[in-house]
Each structure stands twice: as C-alpha cells, then as structure tokens.
C-alpha cells in the first residue's frame, strides 16, 4: 500500500512574498534593490496583512474541501453498503418467490390428488 501523501492543494495554499529580481544587465541588482526599498516604504505594510488574510482564507478553503471530500467518501461508502444490503434483500426475495412457487405447485399437486381420489 502506498504511503501517506501530502495534500497537493494544501501545499499550494500558502502564498509568500517574493524577492524582487531584475533581468536587466549590469544595473539589474540595483533596480531590484531600489524596488525592495520602495516596497518596504510604500507597499509592504499594506500587502502583508492582505497576504495573511489570503492565507487564512486559503487554509479555510482547503479545510472545507477536506471536509467535503471526507463527507463524499463517507456517503459513497454508506451508499455502497446500502446497495449491498439491497442486493442481499433482492436475493432473499428471489428465494422467497421461488419457495412460494414450489409451495403453490405442491398445493396444486395435492389438490389434484384430493380431487381425483
């Protein structure tokens, strides 16, 4: 049996700040550094709470999906159990029908015997 697997969705749910990068030759590192500084002044304190809020939401969504999946699995198993029980009942009904048919035939046979004798 395969080992326990990490949930792919859970791993992807946590979003993180990304470092600034620039592909520009020579001055690229300077540009990235400037953006980093500007971010720490202008946007960092605004974005971080948003990230936190988004991560909280993502975690709740993952938990909710796990909950849905668990319930679907549970329902699927219960439904399968019910289908099994239905099949068992069908087999019992089939047997009862066949036994009834046998009894009817026997009654007819006895009746015919009584009538003739």
């Amino acid at each position: 049996m395969a080992g326990k697997t990490h949930d792919w969705l859970e791993e992807k749910a946590e979003i993180e700040e990304r470092p600034f990068r620039s592909e520009t030759a020579v001055v690229g590192p300077l540009i990235a550094r400037f953006r980093e500084m500007w971010n720490s002044v202008a946007t960092k304190w605004y974005v971080r709470p948003l990230l936190q809020q988004q991560n909280n939401f993502n975690r709740l969504v993952v938990e909710r999906l796990h909950d849905h999946d668990s319930r679907l699995i549970e329902q699927d198993r219960e439904q399968t159990g019910a289908a099994h029980d239905m099949a068992a009942l069908s087999a019992q009904v089939a047997q009862a029908n066949r036994r009834l048919a046998d009894l009817e035939a026997e009654v007819e046979r006895l009746q015919a015997k009584l009538d003739s004798g």
Binding site: A2, I73, A83, A87, R98
Partner: protein, 401 residues
Amino acid sequence: MVDRRRLHLAYFSPLPPARSGIADYSAALLPALAQQAEVTLYAPDPDAVSPPLRQTYRVRPAAAYAGERWEHDATLYQMGNSTHHEDVYRMARRYPGVVVFHDVGLHHFVAHRTVGRGDYAGYVREMGYSLGLDGVHQAWAIRYGEMAHPLTDVPLNDRLVDLSLGVLVHSRYAQQMMNRDHPERPAYVVPHLCFDNAGRSRRHELPWPEEAVIFASFGQITAAKRIEDALHAFARLRRSIPEARYLIAGEAQRDVNLEALLTELDLGEDVICTGYVAELEAFVDWINTADVVVNLRYPTVGETSGTALRALGAGRPVVVYDHGWYAELPDDVAVKVPPQDHEALLAAMRRLAEHPEERRQRGERARAYVARQHSPEQAAGAYVGAIVRIVNRVTGESPHA
C-alpha cells in the same frame, strides 16, 4: 434453501468472439456448469455472441436482466482487469451478486475507464473510496505528475467487493488477500480451469534445427510478464547452449519495446515472435511446440495464469517466479525461482535445457496435476458449491447446503 440441483444462475462475462482469455474461459466452463445449474447468459448484444454459444444456452440481452433477476438464485460476474469487462463491471455495480475476481487488482481497469476517458473525478472518487482522504490526495498528486499510478499497490477492488454478496478467486493467495482486506465478505477458491491442451508441434514450421531446445513465452507481452528477464537469461544461456532458441507467441504491448530488446541482445533469428495468435488451436499448437515454457510475472496482482496452466496441461515444464499463485504450484511440477533472481532463472533454464529427461518427467507430472485439479468439471463443482453457500448465507440458511 437452494440446493445444487435447482440452482438458477444469471451469468455475465465477456464471451467469444471477444479477444479475451476470460471469454475463452467462460466458453470452456459453461458446458460443465450447465450440467449442474440452470444457466442464463446475459450479454449487451446477444447477436454478437458466437453462434455455438447461442445455440447451446439461453442468451438474453443485459437490458432485460432487471426484469428477470427474480428468476435466478444468484448472479455471477466474471471480472478481470481488462477493458473487456466494462459491461460486466457496470452490471455488477448496479445489481450486485457473486463476483469472480480473475485478477484481485482492478487498478488498470478502473484507471482506464476513468482517467483514460478524461474522467479524473471518477478516478479521484475510486481512490477516495479505497484509501479515504489520502486516496484523494494521491489522485490529485498523480493528476499533476507528482507521482505515478500505484497500479499494483492499490487494487481498487474495494467498491466491487463491498457491493458483492460473495467473491470467488482462483488461488489461496488471492483468498488470503481478500480475507485480509475484506474479512466480512465470504471468499471461496474455485480452481482455474484448463482445457483443450492437446495440440500438435509446429516445430517444422520454424527455421530451426531439429535438435533445438525451444524455450517459449505466450500471451500478451507486458512489462509485468518480464520478457526482459527471460531474454537476458536466454542470451546468456545461448553462450553455452548454442542450440537454444526462443519462441514468443503473443503481442507485445506498449510498455514493452521488444524490437529494441532483441536488437540490444543481438538475438537475431534465434528468437521468433509470432505476434498475436487469434486462433486458440494455433495458440495451443505453439505451446505444444515448446520444450520449456517461461511464464514470469512480477509483480503479481493476485492473478492466476491461464497460460501457465495451459502449458502445464500440455505437459510442458514451466518456469515461474516463486510468489503469489505461482508459489502454490507443486514443486515437482513447476520450476520456481525467486522473483527477479536472474542467476537462479538462468540456472533453471540451463538445467532444463541440459536434461531432457527432467523435462519429460516434469511435463508428465504437470499434465496429471492439471487433469486432477483444473478440469472444467472440477471447477464447475466448486462454483456451484461456493455459490450455494453464499446464497444460503445471504438468505439466512445454513451455509452447508
């Protein structure tokens, strides 16, 4: 209480002319089974069933089964791990009955009918059913390429077993697997059957010398059947026994690049591959052409090899890997080597190549073993006995009819 004489059986299976081993199996079982029970065959299209079967048995459309099921004491489903079982599987889910698991694992089948048709949700559902939330996670990881399908580790048979009233398998190994995973479901062993093994050698059709020692493998050539192991051992064997030859009667599947393998091993005309053999008679003839049959399988998914049995029934010595059902073969009948032990495989092939008397003796014992244990009559008796027990268990009667 159902007794053996009165058992009425609805029978679902791939049937000839379907290109399926289980279709051939059913065709061979039915004459013996019909001696002991009233059998009605159900097929999606009765007109597509081979005329001899239609003339001999009552064949009804599967669509009529719902209204007729009350006529039967039990419904039997012959289930395998190939695409030929789509209709059987669908009916076994809708109207559960007694299921014969020719392969304990159904992962290939389930993956094909879900992922293979773009129905990933269906695959997630089946993995979830079998493994719980972890199965759902695995299915998503597979979808995004982070892991491979656990084709042999996860049998994906749980839904069908849970639905069924009882299961039949072909080996004690498979029965133990069922009892371990589904202790609440009765599991009985019915012997795989072996039939029509008399054939003639086609040695004269091969461009090989009369003294050639012919090794052979039969049936669909898949990666799990380890033709690579067999041919590597054969290539080494040929250095000391140049008269050894290898016959492959079967079709290579996509997971085996036979041509590249033969080129790599430089085996030239000492290996002949016939491709798919459509006629059973020809297939049996090729088995009767072999001096030694190499029938490897690794890993096993609890299957019983009809081809190995057929070769034993034809009086051929058979080399197998010593696990699963193969381990249950008598030691003096099959030559068993530890799975993937290449040295042991080479030694076994060498011994059989060098000792024609051992080949003859093993072949005789193999033929007697199959006649004793795997005749259609033997199998049919076990079927009826097991089905009666299952039905009586379900209907609350004594399990010993």
